[in-house]
Symmetry: C3
Subunit: 156 residues, 3 copies
Amino acid sequence: MRDDLIRVAHFNAAYADCIDHDELERLSAFFTDDCHYKITTWDNWRAGYPAGIVYLRGTGMLRDRISAMRNANVFEPHRYRHMLGLPSHVLREGNGLTARTPFSVFRIMQDGTTALFATGEYIDRFTEGGEHDLQLSERLVVCDSARMDTLLVIPL
Amino acid sequence: MRDDLIRVAHFNAAYADCIDHDELERLSAFFTDDCHYKITTWDNWRAGYPAGIVYLRGTGMLRDRISAMRNANVFEPHRYRHMLGLPSHVLREGNGLTARTPFSVFRIMQDGTTALFATGEYIDRFTEGGEHDLQLSERLVVCDSARMDTLLVIPL
Amino acid sequence: MRDDLIRVAHFNAAYADCIDHDELERLSAFFTDDCHYKITTWDNWRAGYPAGIVYLRGTGMLRDRISAMRNANVFEPHRYRHMLGLPSHVLREGNGLTARTPFSVFRIMQDGTTALFATGEYIDRFTEGGEHDLQLSERLVVCDSARMDTLLVIPL
């Protein structure tokens, strides 16, 4: 089990590095083709509501969103810095793994202003394989606060 | 030694998850029956003073405190999000382990306001066994700042 | 590779502990004698500019700087609390390792005021050996924000 913990932590470090280095075109390699990627709030998740903020199905939608961000959306340039904890509840399930991992994300605006952007946790389902050793078949991003900034362009 | 580091980190991830998911009734499983749980400040700790903010002896007192929190105390509802570092100074001592682990804790109020609540480190003494593989015979929570919010209800 | 990841993470936890416990006289043990220690900003690093904020060459300069801090510099007393992520891009290169590791650093002033001081990442080159199992032949501290506080006395 501890070996799987390290595998998931290793995967997550590469995932965060990919986003924080603005290499979003490589992000789909962390997901299965028919993945679910959702962003919701803690209260919604606890109440059993479906994801309320973002819902992407499949890497095609993920790529579309990143492409829109690159080409169409108008927003103030910014970057993220992910700080991740170690996963807990790492369990084998079928030919994959489930785990949940706490995160905090700081946002750096172009003028250098840095602030806490979000805290929460990833609730994940992984399958074996892919260039990062594991692939997300589902990543549910549960944000602790319902006060989400409207400037949610870059994936968490 | 690196194996013990992973064991302690694994334990700490489960401990933080237990608190942040508000499953405090399960918290005593992380401690030995006659544990010491203390909260103090960096300055007090460095000066060799006894713990000044919270001192619980045994899981009975821990359960009492949680029960009081659930039933008696009146406070504005809030949650924590723990972000933990890896332990350092992981050493075998007798039939147990000692370690220290840096933490930062963010607090989420019911209206969604999120702020840094505390930083510091756990200075720990573990014994072997229990449902989490290790058990705390002593956890000294050393908070970096002496400016502690009076709203210290949930264990750190 | 996962074993090297743990080695680097273990090293980094000890490095952060050394600084946060104000044991800076022990810091040179984490570096090779002819190390490069640099602090720069994300924008400068991405543009390929040389390190702009701090550049120390060799543990002699590192010791001088710490000695100056202890004896000569006048500044408001403060401490850091490092929160580090796991390294990514851990690769073997020659008889050493390269890696990069995200960090956030909180600063605690003497009156207890605590605030986020910097986020960024270490871009490192390690050689084998030394009392911490690895030694930094190069640590490039890339700070996300160009808005660095002028009070940069303690090494990051």
